[in-house]
Amino acid sequence: MTVDFPVLTSLIVAPLLGAVVVALVPSRRSEVHLPLGIALSMIPVALAGWLFVAFEKTAGFQFAEFTEIYSGWGVNWHLGVDGISLPLIVLTTILVPVSLAVSGAITDRTKLFVAMVLLLEAGMIGVFLALDLIVFFVFFELVLVPMYFIIGIWGSESRIYAAVKFFLYTAFGSALMLAGIIALGLGNLRATGSLTFDYVAIAEVGVAVGSQWWLFLVFALAFAIKVPLFPFHTWLPDAHVQAPTAGSVLLAGVLLKLGTYGFLRFNLPLFPEATLDAVPWMAALAVVGVIYGAAVAIVQPDLKKLVAYSSVSHLGFIVLGTFALTRQGLEGAVIQGVNHGLSTGALFLLVGMLYERRHTKKIADFGGLAKAAPLMAGFFLFMSFASIGLPGLNGFVGEFLILVGSYATLPVYAIVAATGVVLATIYLLWAYQRVFTGEPTSEDNAGMKDLKGVEVTVLSVLSILILVLGLYPRILLDKITPTTDALLERMEISTSYVVPPGGSDG
């Protein structure tokens, strides 16, 4: 489907222009930067909202745009959106104004901060939209720069270490992927006689079985570091803990999804043979991540680190669902990406709000906060339940689909991973209990201020989304399913794999 208005390009350009507009405001008018940034970031929200409504419930790329950039290298400005990328784009556009709205505590170089967040948004949306491997790579790398600045300038004490580690770790993964991308383009040249980095063209021709293995590996390494999959996760706690709240929210909410998105977009359809061989390995790493992340979260004395490790655990679920290669597994993987972005993003917001009030993230320093801040306690409990997967909230839908889907092909892994849900209950509710229940343990805790209007608004928006997705997941699933089904069909056609029969509908 083509439309006259290049809505996808606009989605990338709008935040870029926003960054420029903010940059043009004089530095001393620092009170303008943040509200202006929030206002400007509502444009992508509107565009994404329109996209979501206009998106048809079919497989294949919609709203595609195609302009040649340089024929000598076969690089094209090829954008498109399908059921895998649509939810993530909507999530991205929502989380950006949310994370800006709670950044009132940032007073140093506010202009640069807002510009960086908007630049980050352009990069993230670009990753999800790009259908040319080079364009994809450009955005994939571009995302690093603003996040590097966000952590490095506005982070806490060891921010420099965290920022550099984050950058080098992820840059290393993507460097090898670039070799893979070059090999894919030249492989297509050998197979068809034309050099192209177009994703659709390469997917159509297919990748020689002989080279699928190493290509799968280099792509998987880049995405595994991004997700992050155990044992590539060590950059994540550092980056999360040091980043300012907005950074943590966008890191957890969107940046990690670049990895899970990459698996779905590239590894499964481009290297199906290698994927089949890799299933036990990937599933094993995923399950280890689920258990390990949860176990480490339980013993964390630092609330922010606890939420960070819970991300490792939740992202393990998503990878497990992806490599289960079943209908429900894939659906669950996609929708859980959104769920995690909402609930973990909200938990990071709450931790940030606590930190702003008490200047500590240590669980031991809190206690009995519910007395002074009942609203905050309520939201924290609600978000914890969403994260754990209480039926009726969004987390349940995703985790249930993933567990059902992976039980069909990977029963042992699914059973082990299911204990991750139990562990999540322990670390989140235990943290809630220590922080919020009982009598206030100190005067600071007794006198802490409850949520402000802005904070209530932001958390309410996220809560509503969580409820909607929990009670009526079909609003999203109906748009996801055709794409994930087509993905499985592709697996069946290009390999000997047969999808096990499952339930009629998630």
Partner: protein
């Protein structure tokens, strides 16, 4: 038969620069005018050279590729592009270094003339189609640079740098000349055309001492590799770039690299084309060594100019990745050197603005907190660091992608993997500059840019980001130039 018109057009831009140099010197001794007057002469010379290049491009369009001066000079699109790069870095370098010329007092005019002479020399090198012409161009360019390195009296490091550059550079020139002599001994040819036909029929004729040929090729290459500061022939670069007056270092580094890479490309495209065994693997090896060594050494430096020097060693390696890929690498190499030269001049130019135009050495500590005291300079330097590191949306990424793709297609996958891993390691030192400027507290110097520096910086940034986002403009031009 001598065709005067051909002869003139073939060396027109060189001629303009030589005339510019002469004009500057004559005007200076006659009237001793203010530096502003020389500025106008320089501007006219740059504009004239640009016009001359345009005329050359048109001429090749109309009359196709031509040889002049007894087949010593080749006039083709590729040469015009390289010469264009030289004119651009000359203009940018003068803009950034104008403050230096002012400080040099009466020697300012001399320095300006030397810049034009060296640029003319390297242009001759670009156009050379004959080993002696290559040597002459190289020497005219290099000797001017030796003097420029030591032109400032404000520090002894500057003298040391000039001496080192001169001694080691002379040895390299001698090695090159020795290679040329050996090649002549074996083949009886000094022109590239003769060399090509000799080399391509090497297997079918009886040659006096055939083993001389590979040795001759190796010596010629070593001479040129020295000029681009490829490892293990790089030892001079850090000292020279650290000690030379900051205002002009960027020009020195970029101009020599452009000239030598252009000559190298011509040799592997024409003279030595049919002897790939003698240069392909060695150049690939030198590329790998340069990339790895340059990166490792750059990581441990504490002076920004030494960092840029060692990163230049690594960049020489990246360029050689393309050169060693032969014909398919040409497009990538040309794009690489053009855009790298601009980023390099701008980076050194900003360093000169921060440390002072005549300073020797630019310790990293001076950059602490620069983003607060001079946000524009810090932002620009960050962009340039990311471009040198090869981040997407800058020319650095497009350039690296070009040479890597060529090398992969040429079957040098191992080299690409080495280069990719090294480019990640290189982030460590490029990011360190950003860390100092943005993440660490401190009161950096307040830098105010002169008009020349402002214009040069704006042009460099537009090129670096503009061609990084939409490189097609330049790539289409290059595609018409290389073959």
């Amino acid at each position: 038969m001598v065709d005067t018109a051909v002869s003139l057009i073939a060396i027109l831009p060189e001629l303009v620069f030589v005339l510019g140099a002469v004009a500057v010197l004559m005007v200076d001794v006659t009237w001793k005018p203010a530096l502003r007057v020389h500025g106008w002469i320089a501007a006219v010379a740059v504009a004239g050279a640009s016009g001359a290049l345009f005329a050359q491009w048109r001429d090749v369009d109309v009359n196709s590729i031509r040889l002049a001066y007894g087949d010593m000079i080749l006039l083709d699109h590729q040469g015009v592009v390289f010469k264009g790069a030289l004119v651009v870095v000359t203009a940018l370098g003068l803009g950034f270094g104008w403050g230096l010329f002012g400080r040099l007092g009466r020697k300012g005019a001399e320095a300006l003339a030397l810049v034009f002479l060296s640029a003319a020399g390297f242009m001759f090198m670009v156009g050379s189609f004959h080993f002696l012409m290559l040597f002459l161009g190289l020497e005219v360019g290099s000797i001017s640079l030796y003097i420029l390195a030591g032109i400032s009296n404000e520090s002894t490091e500057s003298d040391e740098a000039a001496m080192k550059y001169f001694l080691l550079g002379s040895v390299a020139s001698a090695i090159l000349l020795y290679g040329v002599a050996l090649f002549y001994t074996a083949s009886g040819h000094l022109g590239y055309g003769g060399a090509f036909s000799f080399v391509s029929t090497l297997n079918t004729q009886i040659v006096f001492k055939p083993s001389i040929v590979p040795l001759a090729v190796a010596l010629v290459l070593v001479g040129l590799l020295f000029k681009i500061a490829a490892a293990p022939f790089h030892a001079w670069a850090p000292d020279v770039y650290q000690g030379a007056p900051a205002g002009i270092t960027g020009y020195m580094a970029a101009a020599a690299k452009i000239g030598a890479i252009a000559a190298l490309a011509r040799l592997v495209q024409v003279a030595f084309r049919d002897l790939p065994d003698t240069w392909q693997a060695p150049l690939a090896g030198v590329a790998a060594v340069s990339i790895v060594l340059g990166t490792i050494y750059a990581i441990v430096q504490t002076d920004l100019r030494r960092i840029l020097a060692y990163s230049g060693v690594a960049h020489a390696g990246f360029l050689l990745v393309g050169v060693s890929s032969g014909g398919i690498g040409a497009r990538g190499v040309v794009f690489y050197i053009l855009t790298y030269a601009v980023a390099l001049v701008a980076a050194f130019g900003l360093v000169g603005q921060v440390s002072g135009p005549a300073s020797a050495g630019s310790p990293l500590d001076a950059y602490r907190g620069l983003s607060k005291s001079s946000p524009v300079v810090a932002g620009a330097l960050s962009v340039l660091m990311l471009a040198l590191a090869g981040m997407p949306v800058t020319t650095g990424f497009v350039a690296k992608f070009g040479v890597f793709t060529a090398a992969w297609a040429a079957g040098q996958e191992w080299l690409v993997l080495v280069a990719l891993v090294a480019s990640v390691a290189a982030f460590a030192f490029y990011l360190r500059v950003i860390v100092l400027m943005y993440f660490e507290d401190g009161d950096g110097p307040t830098v105010s840019l002169g008009l020349g520096a402002k214009v040069s910086l704006a042009v460099s940034l537009v090129v670096t980001i503009g061609l990084g986002v939409y490189p097609t403009v330049l790539l289409d031009l290059i595609d018409r130039a290389v073959y």
